[in-house]
């Protein structure tokens, strides 16, 4: 199904996927290669060189191409390492919430009846609690760290997976090959994993990309408020928060991590929207 003939040509013709994908690959490369391409140690402070502006400013220099932060840490290095945090958050949260939401959605869509009612009720309940507020409260109670943020967001953001997987499974459930597998005596787990899952995979991929983007934004907001990833980790949201009081004189201190976040989210959303057109066009809103 995935390797349909002409798929690559269709991918190539879909500008959103090409542009978004290319940007995303670039950011993934930066994140993976950070130890080799970052000019400095992202934690190394140089108090003699604080708030050095980027090279395009008059006082800027090529020694620190994107300047330094209020503690004299090289900004380019911190931005490069920050990509690791954002991507780690996006991927981990999408995996955790994806596992929870997909399991719930597939069970609801496959069995229907009471199971479906229970899952729908859980989704409705979850949706009525504001994510950011519950996440903030939980982080405040448990203490902020990268893994706490990942776990909290992972346990909160399964709702869209459940909703989409439920309706996708409902559509697939009554198809001939599922009935054939049931008739052949396959166990429920086998039917779900072997027959249903591969066929709802396109929907899963699309939801996963969009949820990863939303998780990255939420982490940035939590870290910005001081209740997410803790210093000295170079989370982009945290970097904006740390530079907030300097923004009037050193605007680039907030502009660079802000732009980095916007480019990453833009790339993921663009690729996700494009993938939706390619893989699951009937699901378009």
């Amino acid at each position: 199904m995935i390797a349909a003939p002409g798929l690559w040509r269709r991918v190539w013709k879909n500008k959103a996927v090409v542009v978004g994908g290319a940007l995303l690959l670039l950011i993934v490369f930066i994140a993976l290669a950070a130890p080799w391409i970052a000019p400095y140690d992202p934690y190394g402070q140089d108090l003699a060189n604080r708030n050095v502006p980027p090279f395009w400013y008059e006082q800027g220099s090529w020694l620190h191409p994107l300047g330094t932060d209020p503690l004299g840490r090289d900004y380019m290095s911190r931005l490069f390492y920050g990509a690791r945090i954002s991507l780690l958050i996006g991927i981990s949260v999408a995996i955790i919430s994806g596992l929870i939401g997909t399991t719930m959605g597939m069970l609801a869509g496959y069995f229907g009846g009471k199971t479906d009612m229970l899952v729908s009720f859980m989704v409705t309940t979850r949706l009525s609690m504001p994510v950011i507020l519950v996440a903030l409260a939980t982080v405040a109670l448990v203490g902020g760290s990268l893994w706490v943020v990942i776990m909290v967001l992972g346990l909160l953001k399964w709702d869209r997976f459940a909703v989409v997987m439920r309706s996708a499974t409902q559509q697939v459930r009554s198809l001939d090959y599922v009935a054939a597998a049931q008739a052949a005596g396959a166990s429920t787990a086998r039917v779900l994993l072997g027959e249903v899952l591969p066929n709802v995979m396109p929907h899963l991929i699309v939801v996963a990309t969009l949820e990863a983007a939303s998780a990255i934004l939420l982490e940035a907001a939590l870290s910005f408020l001081g209740l997410g990833v803790q210093p000295p980790l170079p989370s982009w949201g945290l970097m904006i928060s740390e530079a907030k009081s300097y923004m009037f004189f050193s605007f680039w201190l907030i502009a660079l991590p802000g732009a980095a976040l916007a480019i990453l989210i833009f790339a993921i959303n663009l690729a996700g929207d494009g993938l939706r057109d390619l893989l699951a066009p009937e699901g378009r809103a």
Binding site: P130, F248, I265, N269
Partner: protein, 305 residues
Amino acid sequence: MGGYILKRLGLAIAVALAVSMIAFLLLRLSGDPAIAIAGEGARSEDIELIRKTYGFDRPLPVQYVEWLGRTLRGDFGESIYFKTAAAPLIFAKLETTMVLGLLSLAFALAISIPLGVMAAVYRNSWIDRLCLALAVLGQALPNFFFALLLIMLFSISLRWLPVSGSGTWQHFVMPTIALGYYAAPAFMRLIRAGMIEVLEADYIRTARAKGLPAGKVIFKHALRNAVVPVVALAAVQLGFLLGGSVVIETIFALDGLGYLAYQSITFKDFPVMQSIVLLLSVIYVVLTLASDIANAWLDPRIRVA
């Protein structure tokens, strides 16, 4: 219709109860409230005394039922930080947040309706693509970062608006834009999709064939029908906006429920924190209930489902 409303009401009450249980457990399971109230460096006798006074030593279900009973009677407990009753504190801030939420909603609709209509009328043209690009870009910009950009522009460069605080209408301008622009893309997509569908309907062709001016056809005949699903989304989005107010109100130090929520979280003021989570969730439940009923009224097909 009556049966549908009753069924939907029952679901809303069940959801509200489930939310109350989660709000209750969230705080009870994540740490010892007695230690939190006693503060750092408290002696173990003091903690034990607090545990007894507040009844933390009794079984959880008993504590939950008692807490729920008090909450329903409007007693939200005592604020640990502000040392006053939590309920009046919270309800005093509710108005600001409601005003902000409604203003943001109005702002989002004010930009998304014209853009959505234009994108649909000039479908696949550069106007359509520009609107789509705006929507995608809008969703990519973190709202707290956008808020800081607004401060740089309106407060620092132009000196038109106060950086933070509350009290005058000027204090609401930037928070409204920062919160509202985030809800706009969803409306725009919905209006665009709805308009495209409606513009292809027979009665629009008839209206056009009668020789009615294009503007009249679009706004009087088409938009009126395309806007129906927007009503449902508006209620849901208002709920999201109230949640999002935590970040925006904190940045602008706008003295509403969101800012109070942030303060209560940083001060570990559990009763206030818990009550705000519960209150915002219940408001969301009521909003979705209202939107479902409004939808059933507007579209009779839903009632049977």
